[in-house]
Protein backbone atom coordinates (compact mmCIF):
# COMPACT_ATOMS: atom_id res chain seq x y z
CA UNK A 1 0.00 0.00 0.00
CA UNK A 2 2.97 2.28 0.55
CA UNK A 3 3.74 2.10 -3.13
CA UNK A 4 2.32 5.40 -4.49
CA UNK A 5 4.27 7.45 -1.97
CA UNK A 6 7.45 5.52 -2.55
CA UNK A 7 7.27 6.17 -6.30
CA UNK A 8 6.81 9.88 -5.75
CA UNK A 9 9.75 9.76 -3.37
CA UNK A 10 11.73 8.02 -6.03
CA UNK A 11 10.81 10.60 -8.68
CA UNK A 12 13.75 12.81 -9.43
CA UNK A 13 13.61 16.57 -9.06
CA UNK A 14 14.02 17.10 -12.79
CA UNK A 15 11.20 14.72 -13.64
CA UNK A 16 8.90 16.40 -11.19
CA UNK A 17 9.67 19.80 -12.68
CA UNK A 18 9.07 18.73 -16.26
CA UNK A 19 5.78 17.09 -15.21
CA UNK A 20 4.73 20.36 -13.62
CA UNK A 21 5.71 22.15 -16.84
CA UNK A 22 3.68 19.75 -18.97
CA UNK A 23 0.66 20.21 -16.76
CA UNK A 24 0.95 23.97 -17.03
CA UNK A 25 1.14 23.81 -20.83
CA UNK A 26 -1.88 21.51 -21.11
CA UNK A 27 -3.95 23.68 -18.78
CA UNK A 28 -2.91 26.80 -20.70
CA UNK A 29 -3.93 25.25 -24.05
CA UNK A 30 -7.35 24.40 -22.62
CA UNK A 31 -8.12 27.47 -20.60
CA UNK A 32 -6.58 30.44 -22.47
CA UNK A 33 -9.09 30.19 -25.36
CA UNK A 34 -11.91 29.91 -22.82
CA UNK A 35 -10.61 32.97 -21.03
CA UNK A 36 -10.50 34.74 -24.38
CA UNK A 37 -14.20 34.04 -24.88
CA UNK A 38 -14.91 35.52 -21.48
CA UNK A 39 -12.83 38.63 -22.13
CA UNK A 40 -14.32 39.12 -25.59
CA UNK A 41 -17.82 39.16 -24.15
CA UNK A 42 -16.81 42.52 -22.66
CA UNK A 43 -14.93 43.69 -25.79
CA UNK A 44 -16.40 46.95 -27.10
CA UNK A 45 -15.22 46.18 -30.65
CA UNK A 46 -17.85 44.04 -32.38
CA UNK A 47 -15.25 42.36 -34.61
CA UNK A 48 -13.29 41.36 -31.51
CA UNK A 49 -10.18 43.39 -32.36
CA UNK A 50 -7.30 42.59 -30.09
CA UNK A 51 -6.41 44.06 -27.68
CA UNK A 52 -9.90 45.27 -26.77
CA UNK A 53 -10.10 49.05 -27.16
CA UNK A 54 -12.55 49.32 -24.26
CA UNK A 55 -14.64 47.06 -22.02
CA UNK A 56 -18.41 47.21 -22.06
CA UNK A 57 -21.45 45.42 -20.65
CA UNK A 58 -23.37 46.25 -23.81
CA UNK A 59 -23.29 42.75 -25.30
CA UNK A 60 -24.51 41.23 -22.06
CA UNK A 61 -27.48 43.58 -22.13
CA UNK A 62 -28.22 42.74 -25.78
CA UNK A 63 -27.90 39.02 -25.06
CA UNK A 64 -30.28 39.24 -22.12
CA UNK A 65 -32.83 40.84 -24.43
CA UNK A 66 -32.37 38.35 -27.25
CA UNK A 67 -35.49 36.17 -27.31
CA UNK A 68 -33.85 33.71 -29.70
CA UNK A 69 -31.06 32.93 -27.23
CA UNK A 70 -33.39 32.76 -24.28
CA UNK A 71 -35.83 30.42 -26.01
CA UNK A 72 -33.00 28.18 -27.18
CA UNK A 73 -31.61 28.03 -23.66
CA UNK A 74 -35.02 27.15 -22.31
CA UNK A 75 -35.49 24.40 -24.92
CA UNK A 76 -32.07 22.96 -24.13
CA UNK A 77 -32.75 22.85 -20.41
CA UNK A 78 -36.13 21.24 -21.01
CA UNK A 79 -34.69 18.58 -23.30
CA UNK A 80 -31.77 17.85 -20.96
CA UNK A 81 -34.01 17.60 -17.90
CA UNK A 82 -36.53 15.26 -19.48
CA UNK A 83 -33.88 13.12 -21.18
CA UNK A 84 -32.02 12.85 -17.86
CA UNK A 85 -35.18 11.92 -15.99
CA UNK A 86 -35.88 9.15 -18.51
CA UNK A 87 -32.25 8.03 -18.32
CA UNK A 88 -32.31 7.87 -14.53
CA UNK A 89 -35.35 5.63 -14.45
CA UNK A 90 -34.49 3.37 -17.38
CA UNK A 91 -30.76 3.24 -16.67
CA UNK A 92 -31.34 2.18 -13.07
CA UNK A 93 -33.93 -0.40 -14.06
CA UNK A 94 -31.61 -1.83 -16.72
CA UNK A 95 -28.70 -2.10 -14.27
CA UNK A 96 -30.97 -3.79 -11.73
CA UNK A 97 -32.37 -6.19 -14.28
CA UNK A 98 -28.96 -7.25 -15.51
CA UNK A 99 -27.68 -7.61 -11.98
CA UNK A 100 -30.22 -10.03 -10.60
CA UNK A 101 -30.34 -12.53 -13.40
CA UNK A 102 -27.56 -14.36 -15.11
CA UNK A 103 -29.26 -15.27 -18.35
CA UNK A 104 -27.80 -16.25 -21.67
CA UNK A 105 -26.94 -13.16 -23.68
CA UNK A 106 -26.60 -10.93 -20.65
CA UNK A 107 -23.38 -9.45 -21.96
CA UNK A 108 -24.96 -8.82 -25.34
CA UNK A 109 -27.76 -6.82 -23.75
CA UNK A 110 -25.24 -4.89 -21.68
CA UNK A 111 -23.27 -4.08 -24.82
CA UNK A 112 -26.40 -2.98 -26.68
CA UNK A 113 -27.23 -0.56 -23.89
CA UNK A 114 -23.75 0.98 -23.87
CA UNK A 115 -23.29 1.11 -27.66
CA UNK A 116 -25.25 4.36 -28.40
CA UNK A 117 -22.63 6.46 -26.63
CA UNK A 118 -19.94 5.09 -28.93
CA UNK A 119 -21.89 5.32 -32.20
CA UNK A 120 -21.09 8.34 -34.39
CA UNK A 121 -23.75 11.00 -33.80
CA UNK A 122 -24.37 11.38 -37.49
CA UNK A 123 -25.33 7.70 -37.80
CA UNK A 124 -27.61 7.81 -34.76
CA UNK A 125 -29.11 11.08 -35.99
CA UNK A 126 -29.86 9.81 -39.48
CA UNK A 127 -31.26 6.56 -38.11
CA UNK A 128 -33.59 8.38 -35.78
CA UNK A 129 -34.76 10.79 -38.45
CA UNK A 130 -35.55 7.86 -40.69
CA UNK A 131 -37.19 5.97 -37.90
CA UNK A 132 -39.38 8.84 -36.76
CA UNK A 133 -40.42 10.27 -40.09
CA UNK A 134 -40.39 7.43 -42.57
CA UNK A 135 -41.18 4.39 -40.46
CA UNK A 136 -43.29 5.75 -37.60
CA UNK A 137 -44.61 8.81 -39.43
CA UNK A 138 -44.06 11.12 -36.47
CA UNK A 139 -43.50 14.86 -36.85
CA UNK A 140 -40.15 16.02 -35.49
CA UNK A 141 -40.59 17.97 -32.27
CA UNK A 142 -38.99 18.59 -28.91
CA UNK A 143 -40.03 15.04 -27.95
CA UNK A 144 -38.13 13.42 -30.77
CA UNK A 145 -35.02 15.25 -29.53
CA UNK A 146 -35.70 14.00 -26.00
CA UNK A 147 -36.03 10.38 -27.13
CA UNK A 148 -32.87 10.54 -29.20
CA UNK A 149 -30.92 12.11 -26.35
CA UNK A 150 -32.23 9.62 -23.81
CA UNK A 151 -30.63 6.75 -25.76
CA UNK A 152 -27.13 7.92 -24.96
CA UNK A 153 -27.98 9.56 -21.62
CA UNK A 154 -29.07 6.14 -20.32
CA UNK A 155 -25.52 4.92 -20.75
CA UNK A 156 -24.00 7.27 -18.18
CA UNK A 157 -26.61 6.37 -15.57
CA UNK A 158 -26.41 2.66 -16.40
CA UNK A 159 -22.62 2.62 -16.09
CA UNK A 160 -22.57 4.50 -12.79
CA UNK A 161 -25.29 2.39 -11.22
CA UNK A 162 -23.78 -0.85 -12.45
CA UNK A 163 -20.38 0.06 -11.02
CA UNK A 164 -21.98 0.88 -7.69
CA UNK A 165 -23.85 -2.43 -7.63
CA UNK A 166 -20.64 -4.27 -8.35
CA UNK A 167 -18.89 -2.57 -5.47
CA UNK A 168 -21.73 -3.11 -3.02
CA UNK A 169 -22.54 -6.73 -3.68
CA UNK A 170 -25.89 -8.07 -2.49
CA UNK A 171 -25.15 -8.53 1.20
CA UNK A 172 -26.82 -5.37 2.47
CA UNK A 173 -30.00 -6.14 0.57
CA UNK A 174 -29.96 -9.72 1.83
CA UNK A 175 -29.55 -8.40 5.36
CA UNK A 176 -32.55 -6.13 4.82
CA UNK A 177 -34.75 -8.98 3.58
CA UNK A 178 -33.48 -11.18 6.38
CA UNK A 179 -34.73 -8.56 8.82
CA UNK A 180 -38.20 -8.79 7.34
CA UNK A 181 -38.21 -6.06 4.68
CA UNK A 182 -39.94 -6.91 1.41
CA UNK A 183 -38.41 -6.11 -1.97
CA UNK A 184 -39.84 -2.62 -2.30
CA UNK A 185 -39.00 -1.64 1.30
CA UNK A 186 -35.48 -2.94 0.77
CA UNK A 187 -35.15 -0.81 -2.35
CA UNK A 188 -36.49 2.27 -0.57
CA UNK A 189 -34.47 1.93 2.65
CA UNK A 190 -31.25 0.29 1.50
CA UNK A 191 -30.69 0.07 -2.27
CA UNK A 192 -31.75 3.60 -3.18
CA UNK A 193 -29.74 5.37 -0.44
CA UNK A 194 -26.69 3.40 -1.54
CA UNK A 195 -27.27 4.42 -5.17
CA UNK A 196 -27.97 8.09 -4.50
CA UNK A 197 -24.52 9.47 -5.24
CA UNK A 198 -24.11 7.22 -8.29
CA UNK A 199 -27.44 8.49 -9.61
CA UNK A 200 -26.40 12.09 -9.02
CA UNK A 201 -23.09 11.62 -10.84
CA UNK A 202 -24.80 9.77 -13.71
CA UNK A 203 -27.55 12.38 -13.88
CA UNK A 204 -25.16 15.32 -14.03
CA UNK A 205 -23.14 13.67 -16.80
CA UNK A 206 -26.30 12.86 -18.67
CA UNK A 207 -27.55 16.45 -18.37
CA UNK A 208 -24.23 17.71 -19.70
CA UNK A 209 -24.24 15.27 -22.63
CA UNK A 210 -27.71 16.27 -23.68
CA UNK A 211 -27.18 19.97 -23.17
CA UNK A 212 -24.29 20.35 -25.65
CA UNK A 213 -25.38 17.69 -28.15
CA UNK A 214 -25.53 19.06 -31.68
CA UNK A 215 -25.23 16.34 -34.32
CA UNK A 216 -28.10 14.05 -33.30
CA UNK A 217 -30.16 17.12 -32.42
CA UNK A 218 -29.73 18.54 -35.93
CA UNK A 219 -31.41 15.46 -37.38
CA UNK A 220 -34.17 15.03 -34.82
CA UNK A 221 -35.25 18.65 -34.23
CA UNK A 222 -37.91 20.45 -36.23
CA UNK A 223 -36.91 23.88 -37.59
CA UNK A 224 -38.88 25.59 -34.79
CA UNK A 225 -37.22 23.70 -31.94
CA UNK A 226 -33.79 25.18 -31.56
CA UNK A 227 -31.56 23.99 -28.77
CA UNK A 228 -28.84 26.34 -27.60
CA UNK A 229 -25.95 24.66 -29.45
CA UNK A 230 -27.90 24.82 -32.70
CA UNK A 231 -28.81 28.43 -32.10
CA UNK A 232 -25.13 29.24 -31.48
CA UNK A 233 -24.05 27.42 -34.64
CA UNK A 234 -26.61 29.29 -36.73
CA UNK A 235 -25.82 32.72 -35.29
CA UNK A 236 -22.06 32.37 -35.09
CA UNK A 237 -21.47 33.73 -38.60
CA UNK A 238 -24.03 36.50 -38.53
CA UNK A 239 -21.92 39.58 -37.85
CA UNK A 240 -24.45 41.35 -35.66
CA UNK A 241 -25.20 38.22 -33.60
CA UNK A 242 -21.59 37.17 -32.97
CA UNK A 243 -21.11 39.28 -29.83
CA UNK A 244 -24.24 37.72 -28.32
CA UNK A 245 -22.91 34.25 -29.06
CA UNK A 246 -19.81 35.19 -27.14
CA UNK A 247 -21.83 36.19 -24.11
CA UNK A 248 -23.85 32.98 -24.25
CA UNK A 249 -20.66 30.95 -24.47
CA UNK A 250 -19.21 32.76 -21.46
CA UNK A 251 -22.36 32.05 -19.46
CA UNK A 252 -22.20 28.37 -20.41
CA UNK A 253 -18.56 28.06 -19.31
CA UNK A 254 -19.40 29.47 -15.89
CA UNK A 255 -22.62 27.50 -15.55
CA UNK A 256 -21.02 24.15 -16.40
CA UNK A 257 -18.31 24.55 -13.78
CA UNK A 258 -20.89 24.46 -10.96
CA UNK A 259 -22.34 20.95 -11.44
CA UNK A 260 -18.89 19.46 -12.07
CA UNK A 261 -17.62 20.99 -8.85
CA UNK A 262 -20.66 19.66 -6.98
CA UNK A 263 -20.33 16.19 -8.48
CA UNK A 264 -16.70 16.02 -7.47
CA UNK A 265 -17.43 17.10 -3.92
CA UNK A 266 -20.32 14.67 -3.54
CA UNK A 267 -18.65 11.60 -5.00
CA UNK A 268 -15.57 12.22 -2.85
CA UNK A 269 -17.47 12.42 0.41
CA UNK A 270 -19.76 9.46 -0.20
CA UNK A 271 -16.92 7.24 -1.35
CA UNK A 272 -15.30 7.89 2.00
CA UNK A 273 -18.50 7.07 3.86
CA UNK A 274 -18.93 3.82 1.99
CA UNK A 275 -15.43 2.49 2.30
CA UNK A 276 -15.35 3.44 5.96
CA UNK A 277 -18.35 1.26 6.55
CA UNK A 278 -17.05 -1.87 4.94
Amino acid sequence: MGRPSSTSMAMSRGLRRSLAGFTAVVLAVVYIPLLLVLVNSFNSDNTFGWPPPRFTLHWWKVAAESTGAREALFTSIQVALVATAIALVLGTLAAMGLRRTRFFGRNVVSLLIILPIALPGIVTGLAFQNGFRTILGIQLSIWTIVIAHATFCIVTVFNNVQARFQRLGTNLEQASMDLGAGRWTTFRLVTFPMLRSALLAGGLLSFGLSFDEIVVTTFTASPQDQTLPIWILQNLFRPNQAPIVNVVAAVLVLASAVPIYLAQRLSGSTAEGLTGAR
Partner: protein, 352 residues
Protein backbone atom coordinates in the same frame (compact mmCIF):
# COMPACT_ATOMS: atom_id res chain seq x y z
CA UNK B 1 -37.85 -31.25 23.12
CA UNK B 2 -39.56 -29.42 20.27
CA UNK B 3 -37.81 -29.20 16.92
CA UNK B 4 -36.80 -25.74 15.74
CA UNK B 5 -35.49 -26.70 12.34
CA UNK B 6 -36.14 -29.85 10.42
CA UNK B 7 -34.50 -30.52 7.09
CA UNK B 8 -35.39 -33.45 4.83
CA UNK B 9 -33.55 -34.60 1.72
CA UNK B 10 -32.11 -31.13 1.18
CA UNK B 11 -29.93 -30.71 -1.91
CA UNK B 12 -28.41 -27.72 -3.61
CA UNK B 13 -26.52 -28.18 -6.84
CA UNK B 14 -24.59 -25.42 -8.60
CA UNK B 15 -24.20 -26.89 -12.07
CA UNK B 16 -22.13 -30.04 -11.60
CA UNK B 17 -21.20 -29.21 -8.02
CA UNK B 18 -23.28 -30.77 -5.27
CA UNK B 19 -22.83 -28.17 -2.55
CA UNK B 20 -25.43 -29.89 -0.38
CA UNK B 21 -26.34 -33.47 -1.11
CA UNK B 22 -29.44 -35.13 0.35
CA UNK B 23 -29.22 -33.68 3.85
CA UNK B 24 -31.44 -34.76 6.77
CA UNK B 25 -31.14 -32.75 9.95
CA UNK B 26 -33.12 -31.92 13.10
CA UNK B 27 -32.15 -29.06 15.36
CA UNK B 28 -33.85 -28.83 18.76
CA UNK B 29 -35.42 -25.72 20.27
CA UNK B 30 -32.93 -23.68 22.30
CA UNK B 31 -29.96 -25.65 21.06
CA UNK B 32 -26.55 -24.20 20.24
CA UNK B 33 -25.93 -26.12 17.05
CA UNK B 34 -22.70 -25.82 15.07
CA UNK B 35 -21.99 -26.75 11.50
CA UNK B 36 -18.28 -27.39 11.18
CA UNK B 37 -16.29 -28.14 8.08
CA UNK B 38 -13.62 -26.97 5.67
CA UNK B 39 -14.46 -24.30 3.11
CA UNK B 40 -16.57 -25.71 0.30
CA UNK B 41 -18.04 -28.42 2.51
CA UNK B 42 -21.57 -27.02 2.15
CA UNK B 43 -22.11 -25.69 5.66
CA UNK B 44 -22.64 -22.07 4.60
CA UNK B 45 -24.94 -23.17 1.78
CA UNK B 46 -27.12 -25.00 4.32
CA UNK B 47 -27.30 -21.82 6.38
CA UNK B 48 -28.25 -19.75 3.31
CA UNK B 49 -30.89 -22.31 2.39
CA UNK B 50 -32.40 -22.05 5.87
CA UNK B 51 -32.30 -18.23 5.69
CA UNK B 52 -33.92 -18.32 2.25
CA UNK B 53 -31.13 -16.74 0.21
CA UNK B 54 -30.84 -19.86 -1.92
CA UNK B 55 -33.54 -22.08 -3.33
CA UNK B 56 -32.93 -25.78 -2.81
CA UNK B 57 -32.61 -28.10 -5.80
CA UNK B 58 -34.56 -30.67 -3.81
CA UNK B 59 -35.83 -31.30 -0.31
CA UNK B 60 -37.81 -29.47 2.36
CA UNK B 61 -37.05 -27.08 5.21
CA UNK B 62 -39.41 -26.83 8.20
CA UNK B 63 -39.18 -24.05 10.75
CA UNK B 64 -41.12 -24.76 13.94
CA UNK B 65 -43.24 -27.30 12.08
CA UNK B 66 -44.05 -24.99 9.15
CA UNK B 67 -42.81 -25.72 5.66
CA UNK B 68 -40.85 -22.62 4.58
CA UNK B 69 -39.02 -24.16 1.62
CA UNK B 70 -40.53 -21.79 -0.94
CA UNK B 71 -40.81 -18.71 1.24
CA UNK B 72 -38.65 -15.61 0.64
CA UNK B 73 -36.20 -14.56 3.39
CA UNK B 74 -38.51 -11.84 4.75
CA UNK B 75 -41.28 -14.35 5.42
CA UNK B 76 -39.19 -16.65 7.62
CA UNK B 77 -38.83 -16.25 11.37
CA UNK B 78 -35.05 -16.47 11.32
CA UNK B 79 -32.38 -13.79 11.43
CA UNK B 80 -28.81 -13.95 10.25
CA UNK B 81 -25.54 -12.55 11.54
CA UNK B 82 -23.45 -12.22 8.39
CA UNK B 83 -19.80 -13.00 8.08
CA UNK B 84 -18.98 -9.41 7.06
CA UNK B 85 -21.77 -8.16 9.36
CA UNK B 86 -23.57 -6.34 6.48
CA UNK B 87 -24.29 -3.33 8.65
CA UNK B 88 -26.09 -0.56 6.76
CA UNK B 89 -23.41 2.11 6.38
CA UNK B 90 -25.87 4.98 5.87
CA UNK B 91 -27.73 4.35 9.14
CA UNK B 92 -26.68 4.94 12.75
CA UNK B 93 -26.19 2.05 15.17
CA UNK B 94 -29.67 2.63 16.58
CA UNK B 95 -31.26 2.77 13.13
CA UNK B 96 -29.47 -0.43 12.22
CA UNK B 97 -30.74 -2.22 15.31
CA UNK B 98 -34.26 -0.83 14.90
CA UNK B 99 -34.41 -1.79 11.21
CA UNK B 100 -36.23 -5.10 11.65
CA UNK B 101 -38.80 -3.53 13.99
CA UNK B 102 -39.23 -0.51 11.71
CA UNK B 103 -40.10 -2.59 8.67
CA UNK B 104 -42.52 -4.60 10.80
CA UNK B 105 -44.22 -1.33 11.82
CA UNK B 106 -43.53 -1.68 15.55
CA UNK B 107 -44.46 1.65 17.24
CA UNK B 108 -41.59 4.08 17.88
CA UNK B 109 -41.54 3.93 21.68
CA UNK B 110 -41.41 0.13 21.80
CA UNK B 111 -38.86 0.11 19.02
CA UNK B 112 -36.63 2.38 21.02
CA UNK B 113 -37.00 0.36 24.19
CA UNK B 114 -36.25 -2.94 22.51
CA UNK B 115 -33.26 -1.51 20.63
CA UNK B 116 -31.82 -0.20 23.92
CA UNK B 117 -32.40 -3.60 25.45
CA UNK B 118 -30.64 -5.39 22.59
CA UNK B 119 -27.72 -2.96 22.69
CA UNK B 120 -27.43 -3.60 26.43
CA UNK B 121 -27.39 -7.36 25.82
CA UNK B 122 -24.34 -6.97 23.58
CA UNK B 123 -22.85 -4.34 25.91
CA UNK B 124 -23.05 -1.43 23.48
CA UNK B 125 -24.97 1.04 25.61
CA UNK B 126 -23.97 4.57 24.66
CA UNK B 127 -23.09 3.67 21.09
CA UNK B 128 -26.59 4.11 19.67
CA UNK B 129 -25.90 7.39 17.86
CA UNK B 130 -22.58 6.33 16.35
CA UNK B 131 -22.11 5.68 12.66
CA UNK B 132 -20.91 2.21 11.60
CA UNK B 133 -17.59 3.51 10.25
CA UNK B 134 -16.76 4.85 13.74
CA UNK B 135 -16.86 1.34 15.22
CA UNK B 136 -14.17 -1.31 15.60
CA UNK B 137 -14.56 -4.80 14.14
CA UNK B 138 -15.67 -6.26 17.46
CA UNK B 139 -18.23 -3.51 17.95
CA UNK B 140 -19.66 -3.99 14.48
CA UNK B 141 -19.97 -7.67 15.23
CA UNK B 142 -22.03 -6.79 18.31
CA UNK B 143 -24.23 -4.40 16.31
CA UNK B 144 -24.92 -7.20 13.84
CA UNK B 145 -25.84 -9.48 16.74
CA UNK B 146 -28.09 -6.87 18.38
CA UNK B 147 -29.77 -6.12 15.05
CA UNK B 148 -30.70 -9.80 14.73
CA UNK B 149 -31.59 -10.46 18.40
CA UNK B 150 -33.92 -7.46 18.67
CA UNK B 151 -36.43 -9.28 16.45
CA UNK B 152 -36.57 -12.26 18.85
CA UNK B 153 -36.49 -14.79 16.04
CA UNK B 154 -37.12 -18.49 16.55
CA UNK B 155 -33.69 -19.22 15.17
CA UNK B 156 -30.54 -17.16 14.86
CA UNK B 157 -28.19 -18.11 12.04
CA UNK B 158 -24.55 -17.12 12.45
CA UNK B 159 -22.22 -17.34 9.45
CA UNK B 160 -18.66 -17.45 10.80
CA UNK B 161 -19.40 -14.31 12.81
CA UNK B 162 -16.10 -14.32 14.66
CA UNK B 163 -13.90 -15.02 11.67
CA UNK B 164 -12.72 -11.44 11.22
CA UNK B 165 -11.77 -10.85 14.87
CA UNK B 166 -8.33 -11.35 16.36
CA UNK B 167 -7.71 -14.39 18.54
CA UNK B 168 -8.12 -12.77 21.95
CA UNK B 169 -11.32 -10.96 21.03
CA UNK B 170 -12.60 -14.12 19.38
CA UNK B 171 -12.13 -16.13 22.59
CA UNK B 172 -13.97 -13.46 24.59
CA UNK B 173 -16.81 -13.33 22.09
CA UNK B 174 -17.13 -17.13 22.09
CA UNK B 175 -17.89 -17.15 25.78
CA UNK B 176 -20.09 -14.10 25.51
CA UNK B 177 -22.09 -15.54 22.61
CA UNK B 178 -22.68 -18.70 24.58
CA UNK B 179 -23.91 -16.67 27.56
CA UNK B 180 -26.21 -14.57 25.37
CA UNK B 181 -27.62 -17.70 23.81
CA UNK B 182 -28.36 -19.18 27.25
CA UNK B 183 -29.99 -15.92 28.38
CA UNK B 184 -32.27 -15.35 25.39
CA UNK B 185 -32.98 -19.05 24.85
CA UNK B 186 -33.03 -18.75 21.06
CA UNK B 187 -31.81 -21.61 18.88
CA UNK B 188 -28.39 -20.71 17.47
CA UNK B 189 -27.13 -22.28 14.27
CA UNK B 190 -23.48 -21.46 14.05
CA UNK B 191 -21.30 -22.00 11.01
CA UNK B 192 -17.54 -22.21 11.52
CA UNK B 193 -14.43 -23.83 10.15
CA UNK B 194 -12.69 -23.48 13.51
CA UNK B 195 -12.97 -26.80 15.38
CA UNK B 196 -11.90 -25.28 18.69
CA UNK B 197 -14.66 -22.68 18.41
CA UNK B 198 -17.22 -25.37 17.69
CA UNK B 199 -16.06 -27.53 20.60
CA UNK B 200 -16.12 -24.55 22.99
CA UNK B 201 -19.63 -23.33 22.27
CA UNK B 202 -21.86 -26.05 20.94
CA UNK B 203 -24.41 -28.43 22.36
CA UNK B 204 -24.08 -30.49 19.20
CA UNK B 205 -21.85 -30.30 16.17
CA UNK B 206 -22.42 -31.50 12.63
CA UNK B 207 -19.16 -32.07 10.77
CA UNK B 208 -19.61 -31.37 7.06
CA UNK B 209 -17.60 -32.81 4.23
CA UNK B 210 -18.46 -32.56 0.51
CA UNK B 211 -22.07 -31.56 1.07
CA UNK B 212 -22.85 -34.28 3.59
CA UNK B 213 -22.69 -34.67 7.35
CA UNK B 214 -19.81 -36.93 8.35
CA UNK B 215 -20.81 -37.04 11.98
CA UNK B 216 -23.38 -35.37 14.21
CA UNK B 217 -22.58 -35.55 17.90
CA UNK B 218 -21.86 -33.69 21.11
CA UNK B 219 -18.40 -32.08 21.38
CA UNK B 220 -17.14 -34.78 23.77
CA UNK B 221 -18.44 -37.62 21.64
CA UNK B 222 -17.07 -36.01 18.48
CA UNK B 223 -13.63 -35.68 19.99
CA UNK B 224 -13.47 -38.97 21.84
CA UNK B 225 -15.33 -41.12 19.30
CA UNK B 226 -14.77 -39.72 15.81
CA UNK B 227 -16.75 -41.74 13.30
CA UNK B 228 -14.34 -41.40 10.40
CA UNK B 229 -10.75 -40.58 9.58
CA UNK B 230 -11.98 -37.23 8.21
CA UNK B 231 -13.62 -36.26 11.49
CA UNK B 232 -10.64 -37.51 13.49
CA UNK B 233 -8.33 -35.39 11.36
CA UNK B 234 -10.53 -32.28 11.20
CA UNK B 235 -11.51 -32.13 14.86
CA UNK B 236 -8.28 -32.06 16.79
CA UNK B 237 -5.28 -34.02 15.55
CA UNK B 238 -4.98 -37.78 15.66
CA UNK B 239 -2.79 -40.72 14.82
CA UNK B 240 -4.02 -43.30 12.37
CA UNK B 241 -3.16 -46.99 12.67
CA UNK B 242 -4.33 -49.31 9.95
CA UNK B 243 -3.60 -52.43 7.94
CA UNK B 244 -0.62 -54.60 8.84
CA UNK B 245 0.68 -52.14 11.43
CA UNK B 246 -2.64 -52.24 13.27
CA UNK B 247 -2.71 -56.02 13.02
CA UNK B 248 0.80 -56.29 14.48
CA UNK B 249 0.22 -53.84 17.32
CA UNK B 250 -3.47 -54.25 18.10
CA UNK B 251 -4.29 -57.61 16.61
CA UNK B 252 -6.97 -56.19 14.30
CA UNK B 253 -6.49 -54.48 10.92
CA UNK B 254 -8.54 -51.46 12.09
CA UNK B 255 -8.33 -48.75 11.05
CA UNK B 256 -7.92 -47.11 14.43
CA UNK B 257 -7.27 -43.55 15.52
CA UNK B 258 -5.82 -42.35 18.80
CA UNK B 259 -5.38 -38.79 20.09
CA UNK B 260 -1.79 -37.54 20.71
CA UNK B 261 -2.51 -36.78 24.39
CA UNK B 262 -3.59 -40.40 24.98
CA UNK B 263 -0.09 -41.62 24.09
CA UNK B 264 2.74 -41.75 26.61
CA UNK B 265 6.47 -41.56 26.00
CA UNK B 266 8.38 -43.96 28.22
CA UNK B 267 11.92 -45.28 28.50
CA UNK B 268 10.76 -48.89 28.49
CA UNK B 269 7.63 -50.99 28.09
CA UNK B 270 5.61 -50.69 31.32
CA UNK B 271 3.70 -53.93 30.58
CA UNK B 272 0.39 -52.44 31.69
CA UNK B 273 -2.64 -54.70 31.72
CA UNK B 274 -4.84 -53.69 28.78
CA UNK B 275 -1.96 -51.61 27.44
CA UNK B 276 -0.15 -51.59 24.14
CA UNK B 277 3.44 -50.51 23.63
CA UNK B 278 5.48 -49.85 20.51
CA UNK B 279 9.17 -48.98 20.25
CA UNK B 280 10.47 -46.13 18.12
CA UNK B 281 12.80 -43.17 17.73
CA UNK B 282 11.95 -39.53 18.59
CA UNK B 283 12.39 -37.48 15.43
CA UNK B 284 11.16 -34.06 16.47
CA UNK B 285 10.23 -32.22 19.66
CA UNK B 286 8.06 -29.09 19.41
CA UNK B 287 7.50 -26.82 22.39
CA UNK B 288 3.98 -25.34 22.33
CA UNK B 289 3.82 -23.48 25.62
CA UNK B 290 1.19 -25.42 27.51
CA UNK B 291 2.25 -28.69 25.99
CA UNK B 292 5.05 -30.35 24.11
CA UNK B 293 4.58 -32.36 20.95
CA UNK B 294 6.95 -35.17 20.04
CA UNK B 295 7.03 -36.92 16.70
CA UNK B 296 8.02 -40.56 17.02
CA UNK B 297 8.87 -42.89 14.18
CA UNK B 298 7.73 -46.34 15.25
CA UNK B 299 9.78 -49.39 14.33
CA UNK B 300 6.55 -50.86 12.99
CA UNK B 301 6.49 -48.15 10.28
CA UNK B 302 4.17 -45.23 10.90
CA UNK B 303 5.02 -41.92 12.54
CA UNK B 304 2.90 -40.88 15.53
CA UNK B 305 2.51 -37.60 17.38
CA UNK B 306 2.65 -37.65 21.18
CA UNK B 307 1.51 -34.69 23.22
CA UNK B 308 2.01 -34.10 26.92
CA UNK B 309 1.26 -31.24 29.28
CA UNK B 310 4.23 -29.20 30.45
CA UNK B 311 3.41 -29.54 34.13
CA UNK B 312 7.11 -29.21 34.97
CA UNK B 313 8.76 -25.85 34.45
CA UNK B 314 11.50 -27.45 32.40
CA UNK B 315 11.03 -29.31 29.16
CA UNK B 316 14.69 -30.16 28.91
CA UNK B 317 13.92 -33.80 29.53
CA UNK B 318 11.61 -33.90 26.54
CA UNK B 319 13.96 -31.98 24.27
CA UNK B 320 16.84 -34.27 25.21
CA UNK B 321 14.85 -37.21 23.90
CA UNK B 322 15.41 -36.14 20.31
CA UNK B 323 16.89 -39.04 18.35
CA UNK B 324 16.60 -41.29 21.41
CA UNK B 325 14.93 -44.68 21.42
CA UNK B 326 11.65 -44.65 23.34
CA UNK B 327 8.56 -46.72 23.92
CA UNK B 328 5.16 -45.27 23.06
CA UNK B 329 2.48 -46.73 25.28
CA UNK B 330 -1.30 -46.38 25.34
CA UNK B 331 -4.39 -47.98 26.74
CA UNK B 332 -6.24 -50.29 24.41
CA UNK B 333 -9.59 -48.67 25.21
CA UNK B 334 -8.29 -45.27 24.02
CA UNK B 335 -8.11 -46.59 20.51
CA UNK B 336 -11.10 -45.57 18.41
CA UNK B 337 -12.03 -48.04 15.74
CA UNK B 338 -13.27 -46.49 12.52
CA UNK B 339 -15.05 -49.70 11.67
CA UNK B 340 -13.47 -52.65 10.00
CA UNK B 341 -13.56 -53.07 6.23
CA UNK B 342 -15.10 -56.45 7.09
CA UNK B 343 -18.63 -55.65 8.26
CA UNK B 344 -18.82 -58.85 10.37
CA UNK B 345 -15.99 -57.78 12.66
CA UNK B 346 -17.20 -55.85 15.68
CA UNK B 347 -15.84 -52.47 16.75
CA UNK B 348 -13.43 -51.66 19.54
CA UNK B 349 -15.66 -52.65 22.47
CA UNK B 350 -14.57 -56.28 22.04
CA UNK B 351 -10.90 -55.63 21.75
CA UNK B 352 -10.94 -53.24 24.69
Amino acid sequence: MATAISVRGLSKHFGEVRAVDGLDLDIADGEFFSMLGPSGSGKTTVLRLIAGFEEPTAGRIMLGGEDVTRRPPFARDVNTVFQDYAIFPHLSVRQNVEYGLRVKKVPGAERRRRADEALATVRLEGYAERRPHQLSGGQRQRVALARALVNRPQVLLLDEPLGALDLKLRREMQIELKEIQRDVGITFVFVTHDQEEALTMSDRIAVFNEGRIEQLASPVELYERPASAFVAGFVGSSNLLEGDVARDLVGDPGPFVIRPEKLQLLAEDPHLPGGIAAAGVVREVVYLGASTMSVVELDAGPTVTVSHQNSDTSIDAAVERRDQRVVVSWRRDHLVSLGSPDPAASPEEETA
